[in-house]
Amino acid sequence: MNFDLEKLVSDLDIRDAILYFKGNIDSEVINKVLDSAEGRLLSSHENPKLRKKVYNVLVESLQNLYHHADHVPSGYRAAKPDRFGLIMMEKTHKGYRITTCNFVTTTRVRELEQKLTKINTSTSEEIKELYKEILNHQEITEKGLGGLGLIDISRKTGNRLEYKFVKYDNLHAAFRLSAMVTVE
């Protein structure tokens, strides 16, 4: 099949991205991406409040890929089948947009959609309560806390999460998630 995760970001100009990575996400990659992003934000003397939010959202986005990206479909070209994804960050006139893409199994699409719909239709006060509820009552697993990363990203940015799913085959979909990080 002639499909690449990059197609999910074809409407964005990757040449303008100040950060771009596609491949297997391991601890080392996370360190490098974070170091590079922090270096760029510091050297451009970015507003500290915005810089911290961007860093936080990047951490959660990378760790979402690390913990929650499903295996790539068989036949898809990747060095390793697990923890494969794409992350990019662009500077916009209002702040920064952080986008991640990865594969999910079709059985997870509905669950993810429900989670994202709930987050996007909640007020900031409801998001805060939801965060505390999960923090206080859910057991932590190897993969972290179910959905807390997405809630945290929404809470830190205060913006709706943009997302889409593109069917790959009967078992897999490609998932794109974008968060706009802005400060008032």
Partner: protein, 126 residues
């Protein structure tokens, strides 16, 4: 009992829990991929300290960043401190946050609303 000291790294905080002075500190960044593994020795140490706590324990939290998986582990640390407080020993948690870092202030307020231990929010002015 011996203090527990763990040196910080770019992804994990410096931990200094001194059972002789009753002063505990978590400082730096807490963004490891596997937070449970990192916090396990600290929580085990606290389980032992809970058996013989000092009359007063002061806890200073000076975090620059922490990820969501650390947030649960930090709550587990606070729940142990809450148990010490419930057993009629003084516990005070000082939550430091940098000037204008509203997200870190809110994170401290979240814990304050969950944990029944006196919390003090302290702004670090640069």
């Amino acid at each position: 009992m011996e203090p527990i000291i763990i040196e910080g790294t770019p992804k994990t905080p410096t931990i200094k829990f001194d059972s002789r002075e009753g002063i505990f500190e978590i400082k730096g960044r807490s963004i490891p991929e596997n937070s449970v593994e990192f916090y396990k020795p600290l929580n085990e140490w606290l389980d032992a300290y809970m058996q013989v706590p000092l009359d007063k324990t002061v806890v200073n939290i000076k975090l620059e960043y922490f990820n969501t998986s650390s947030s649960k582990c930090i709550l587990d640390v606070f729940k142990r401190l809450e148990a010490i407080h419930r057993s009629k020993h003084d516990v005070e948690i000082n939550w430091f946050y940098e000037e204008d870092d509203e997200d870190m202030l809110e994170a401290g307020e979240d814990y304050d609303s969950i944990i029944k231990v006196p919390f003090k929010m302290i702004e670090i002015v640069e």
